[in-house]
């Protein structure tokens, strides 16, 4: 008798909860479909990020950052690889990153690494000097390398280069220059 009563109560509980859950889901679906930003979060944001996470989880930290920050990050990594730790690097401006080169294809830069402090995060302990700081900081007189992006600022070195690369790091000192 007791077991039968318990079964009835369990059945009632399940029925009530299933009905409530269906109503709840219907309300949720309506809210998510009616409001564009909720729809974006629930469907686009979560799915895109889960797909990215699935694709990137086996990559190294640098590769994951390159995925998020794009070619800009690859460029800063290249500068890091081509300069010693005690280098003082002339770093291109946002306009330089987004400029169209005089020859060759336009690079897919987005300006994500154009901020000086952001560049320092990757280039540290190298010192970084930007175009706006020329004449304002004593480090401008100590520049050892020029980071070339979109072929710009090659004229800052006073020796002839044998090629016209769009992306490069040129040493200020002609003796350190290694031709391709």
């Amino acid at each position: 008798m007791g077991k039968a009563t318990n079964k009835i109560q369990l059945g009632k509980w399940i029925l009530r909860n299933v009905v409530a859950a269906i109503v709840g889901l219907a309300v949720f679906t309506a809210v998510v479909n009616f409001n564009r930003s909720y729809h974006w979060l629930w469907f686009t944001f979560t799915k895109t990020n889960l797909a990215d996470i699935k694709a990137d989880r086996h990559l190294s930290l640098e590769e994951r950052l390159a995925h998020r920050l794009g070619t800009d990050y690859d460029f800063v990594q290249m500068v890091k690889g081509m300069t010693p730790e005690n280098a003082v690097v002339y770093y291109p401006s946002r306009d330089d990153f987004l400029a169209t080169p005089s020859h060759g294809k336009k690079m897919p830069f987005r300006g994500t690494m154009s901020d000086k402090v952001a560049a320092i995060r990757v280039l540290y302990p190298r010192r970084v000097v930007t175009a706006e700081e020329m004449g304002l900081t004593p480090y401008a007189d100590k520049i050892t390398h020029i980071a070339i992006v979109n072929g710009l600022h090659r004229d800052m070195v006073d020796y002839p280069c044998d090629t016209m690369p769009i992306l490069d790091v040129l040493p200020m000192n002609a003796e350190d220059y290694v031709p391709y």
Binding site: W13, N17, Y38, W40, F45, L65, T112, K116, A118
Partner: protein, 473 residues
Amino acid sequence: MLILVFIIGFMLLWRIGKGASLLERVGFALPVGLGIITVCMLLMDWMGIALSRTNMTVLTIALLLAATAANVRYLKLSNFRTFKLSNFSWFNLVWLLLLVGVIYLEYVNISKCLIYPTYDRDSMAAFDTFGYVCSQEGTYLRMSLFEPDYIPSLQHAGSAMGYMPMLQLSYAYVYIFGAATSKAVPAFIYLGFLFGLYGLCRRRLTHTASMLVLMGVMLTPEMTSFASHSMTNVMHACVASAAIIYLCLWLERREIHDLRLCAVLLAVNVWMRAEGIVFIGVALLLVLSSRVRKFESQSSIVNGQWATLYCLLTLLPLVLWTVCSHACGLSSESALIMHPFWDGEKMLTILSGIWELMSGGEFYGWTFHLALIMFIVNLIYSKVKSSPYRGIRGGLLFCAILLGLAGYILVLYHVDYQWDTVQNVLAFSAKRFLFCFVPMAWYFSVSVLPMRKLAEWLERTLGVRSEELGVRS
């Protein structure tokens, strides 16, 4: 080491928040622990002690021992025996579905947070890089980035050099111990916040209503999409909103531990972001107004003077940083206009910008629409039930939101927009300032009396044994 910081924070909350639930203590332990550690780091740095791995280990162990010593009376086994497994008579499928939704969104958030190193512009251009360079050079106050000769732009008005140092030093702390990225800090502060907010909600709400608050917060598009970044806004929102909710709980119930928790979180809030002073202002106004208009009976456990003192003490982190940064030459030009003035056009631009942000539904969904509707519903309900006292009490958090908004509008109005336009600040920065109000708005919307009654009825109807609901009214 972050676990030890968590334990330090937990111990402090254990000591001061005796009436708080385990979920609340677990939830807010990390930001409180980081707050303590970073204040000590700043003081050490100011005294010229290097922020090296050895010194940080000694500091952590010393704080851990101090926290244990302070709690030694309370760490008796009998205290732990008071924990009992909750009865699940309230359990229902709606709660379960909401839980699944919250877990799904938090899974996406925490995975994104832990898989990707810091890549958002604001963190790379300030917080994360400052923390990284500090860890490499063993000093924050004298690090190379703050040399005027090296980065002249950091001396300009509104530059990142003047930001409150809590998160930069927290990032430095994890980098000092060899972390590859600092993202564990935002990841676990936000995860903890979800636990803490659930615990806070349970003080007044049923399980299902509490989970609805969590779902509402998690579903807020702009806030969730920023929760996986290292910038300060979401973490600040977690701490500031919890502090104000604690304050409202204290004003209602006058339980001393709520006031203490409010004070600790308000201090962490201003240690994270200087504009957190707005919430200290809100707290002071509410405390002072509660002394004029009695929200509670005369048998208050703590009188208003003590509450005022607690609120004033929360300004100490701001005072510490102001004195310390001036002493070390880190003060940049002020970005604020410090004299009274009237510019109707500027005020109108800010008001219309804030209104567009809140009413648009694009960034916060229906968070603020619902809060406004619930405020009106609550007023009508209390009028119908002839209970104006309950109406005022129920609208306390809504008043706090309005006061906080007024404070933010005043701050935005007094900013001297030399480095950027007011329109840009409204479009890109102000939307993040409003994150603080999202948890408050959801908590308020679900905790107004008609909603609470509805939630209690729902849980009674859907629960396993309706007569044993453990909900406090």
